[in-house]
């Protein structure tokens, strides 16, 4: 059962209304302006180092300083079976000692998480022992798509450990020796 409204509210209210028209004008101009200039997709950029084998005749490559110490020469090869990992220290083998190091998942996707995990292990073991623990060379079969290569770069760039981004192998070089 509703209450009968109180008689107090029947007092005439002084009408002190704000004049909202100028504010509305402002809004009507500002909102379309900001909507037009807003960017909903963000562009990013990946810096690339030249593949040493391909660009040896390039301008800056010939003046590359020779680094001392042991080289790790970490290489990830993307094939249609999965990822193959190799370095100067060892060749990571797949199960049963053959096949790709990290095979594709059952649904056909590449196993980027596993790659990141494995690279993190390698990074932990290799740091201090080798001079090039920032670099990685990515190889791919001719028909591997650009997106797969980019995802592989993402997987090898950094890793999230305890909610902290740690760099893995941010200096990526592409190579073409598979072709």
């Amino acid at each position: 059962m509703a209450f009968k409204p109180s008689k107090r509210s029947r007092k005439p209210i002084e009408s002190t209304e704000l004049n909202l028209t100028p504010v509305m004008n402002l809004m009507v101009v500002l909102i379309p302006l900001l909507l037009v200039t807003a960017q909903f997709i963000k562009l990013g950029m990946i810096e690339l180092n030249l593949p040493p084998a391909v660009g040896s005749g390039g301008v800056s490559q010939s003046e590359m300083p020779k680094e001392a110490g042991l080289k790790l020469n970490l290489t990830v090869t993307i094939t249609d079976k999965g990822f193959y990992l190799a370095s100067s220290a060892a060749v990571a083998l797949g199960e049963n000692g053959e096949g790709p190091t990290i095979p594709r998942l059952a649904n056909g996707d590449y196993n980027y998480d596993e790659l990141t995990k494995l690279l993190y292990e390698i990074k932990k073991k290799a740091s201090g022992q080798f001079s090039d623990t920032e670099q990685i060379v990515i190889l791919a079969e001719p028909e591997v798509t650009y997106q797969t290569v980019i995802f592989t770069m993402d997987a090898s760039r950094s890793v999230k450990v305890n909610n902290e981004q740690q760099p893995l192998f941010p200096k990526v070089a592409l190579s073409a020796t598979v072709l």
Binding site: G44, M45, L48, G55, G58, Y146, D154, R157, L174
Partner: protein, 163 residues
């Protein structure tokens, strides 16, 4: 049981003046304005991604730079918006260096080097590559090899940032 207003008051609708309630609209506009202002960046989008290709997604967080624009769309390789060579030709080409592309790139680099001598604008050898996400690796590598051999060794790949 609902309260029944008196008969007199039921027809008491003021002086016939209709007022629009602007308060809720103002609320909405204020929220939109705050959201848009917060997402507003003064840097602006200097790079327009090409329409006939879809860039791949990546988790990279680096902001794009402006440089010589090389797009590899589904059909053509474009240099600064000008079609240079067909993608299918590159895919079927046996060598690593694509002659048509190299010729164009060298033309741009000579111009840029002349600018460096005349006006002191340094030539960085920077080229930005926009590639379609479904592009085959063999095409990408050939294009990049050509860039490297044509005085453009510093390459940047454009991607969409993952949200």
């Amino acid at each position: 049981m609902a309260f029944i207003p008196s008969r007199i008051k039921r027809h008491d609708t003021g002086e016939g003046e209709v007022k629009v309630m602007l308060t809720s609209m103002m609320d909405m506009f204020t929220i939109m304005l705050v959201f848009l202002l917060s997402s507003y960046s003064t840097e602006g989008q200097m790079i327009q991604p090409s329409n006939d290709l879809t860039l791949p997604k990546s988790s990279v967080e680096k902001m794009p730079e402006v440089a010589l624009d090389l797009s590899i769309s589904k059909e053509w390789v474009l240099l600064n918006g000008k079609p240079v060579v067909k993608v299918t030709n590159i895919a079927n080409y046996n060598g690593m260096i694509i002659p048509q592309l190299q010729q164009e790139l060298l033309r741009y680099s000579t111009e840029a080097e002349a600018m460096q001598v005349k006006y002191g604008k340094p030539f960085s050898g920077l080229v930005t590559i926009q590639g379609d996400y479904a592009l085959a690796y063999k095409v990408l590598v050939k294009v990049m090899a050509t860039c490297g051999k044509s005085k453009y060794p510093n390459m940047r790949l454009f991607v969409y940032q993952k949200a």
